[in-house]
C-alpha cells in the first residue's frame, strides 16, 4: 500500500521537502509505525523525533500515533499550530 505524506512549517524546512508518495512495507499499519519507518532513514529525519509536541493528521483529521493508516491515506506531520 502507499500513502501521501505532507510536512509543514519548521518540520518541512528541516526535512527539505513538502510532500512525498511512499510505498509502505507490510509491517507499517499505523501512524506510529510510519513515524518509526521515516525516523529510521536517519540524518535530517531525526527532526520527526526532535520536533516538540509533534502533531499528526490522517486524511485531514487530527490523529494519534495509534491511528491506523490505509492505502491511499493522506498523512501529515507538523509542529503545534500557531495561527490566529
Amino acid at each position: 500500500m502507499s500513502v501521501h505524506i505532507l510536512y509543514f512549517a519548521g518540520l518541512r524546512e528541516a526535512l527539505g521537502q513538502t510532500s512525498e508518495r511512499l510505498a509502505l512495507p507490510g509491517h507499517v499499519g499505523s501512524v506510529g509505525e510510519l513515524h518509526a519507518h521515516l525516523v529510521a532513514r536517519g540524518g535530517a529525519w531525526q527532526a520527526l523525533l526532535t520536533t516538540k509536541n509533534l502533531r499528526v493528521a490522517v486524511n485531514q483529521q487530527m490523529a494519534a500515533m495509534r491511528t491506523p493508516v490505509a492505502d491511499g491515506d493522506e498523512v501529515a506531520f507538523f509542529p503545534p499550530v500557531t495561527g490566529g
Binding site: 509543514f8 512549517a9 519548521g10 493528521a57 485531514q60 507538523f78 509542529p79 499550530v81 500557531t82 495561527g83
Partner: protein, 150 residues
C-alpha cells in the same frame, strides 16, 4: 456561515454589516480582529509569513464553528484567516458571530478564537533582525482552549 482562508485583506465593517443584512432576528454581533505586532518574545518583527494546510484548514475552521453552534445560539458566523506574507499592523484573522443576545455572541466569538489558536493548522514564521524563526506554540493558548472543557 462563511469560512475563508485568503491572502487578501478583509473589511471588518463590511463583514459585520453583511452578517445581519436583511435579517430582523439578530440582536447582537460580536467580532474579533487579530493583527500582526511589530515585536514578539523580545525581538522586532519586520514581517511574517503564514503557512497553512490547505483543505484541512477550512475543514477545521468549519468544525470549530459547528462546535460553537452546539454550545450557544449562533445564528451566523464568519471566520476569515489570512495566509502568505504580512506586515506589522496588517489584519491576520477575523471572527464575527451573530446571535439574538450578546452573551452568546461574545462567548462563541471567544471560543472560536481560542480553538482556532490551538486546532486550526496555521503556522507563523517571523522575520526578525536575527533572521527567520517559527513561532512557538504558547501554553497560555492551550490553557485558554482548556477552559471551555469545563
Amino acid at each position: 456561515m462563511k469560512i475563508s482562508v485568503q491572502s487578501e485583506d478583509f473589511d471588518l465593517g463590511a463583514e459585520c454589516a453583511a452578517i445581519s443584512r436583511g435579517r430582523k432576528d439578530i440582536g447582537a454581533v460580536a467580532s474579533f480582529v487579530g493583527l500582526v505586532r511589530d515585536a514578539n518574545d523580545g525581538a522586532g518583527v519586520a514581517r511574517m509569513t503564514l503557512e497553512h494546510y490547505a483543505g484541512m484548514t477550512e475543514k477545521s475552521l468549519a468544525e470549530i464553528v459547528e462546535e460553537a453552534r452546539g454550545r450557544w445560539e449562533v445564528m451566523d458566523a464568519t471566520v476569515i484567516h489570512r495566509v502568505g506574507e504580512l506586515q506589522p499592523g496588517d489584519n491576520i484573522v477575523l471572527v464575527v458571530v451573530a446571535s439574538a443576545h450578546r452573551g452568546d455572541a461574545f462567548a462563541a466569538c471567544e471560543f472560536i478564537m481560542d480553538f482556532l489558536k490551538t486546532r486550526a493548522p496555521f503556522w507563523k514564521k517571523e522575520e526578525t533582525p536575527e533572521g527567520g524563526r517559527w513561532v512557538d506554540a504558547r501554553e497560555s493558548d492551550d490553557r485558554a482552549a482548556e477552559k471551555w472543557k469545563e
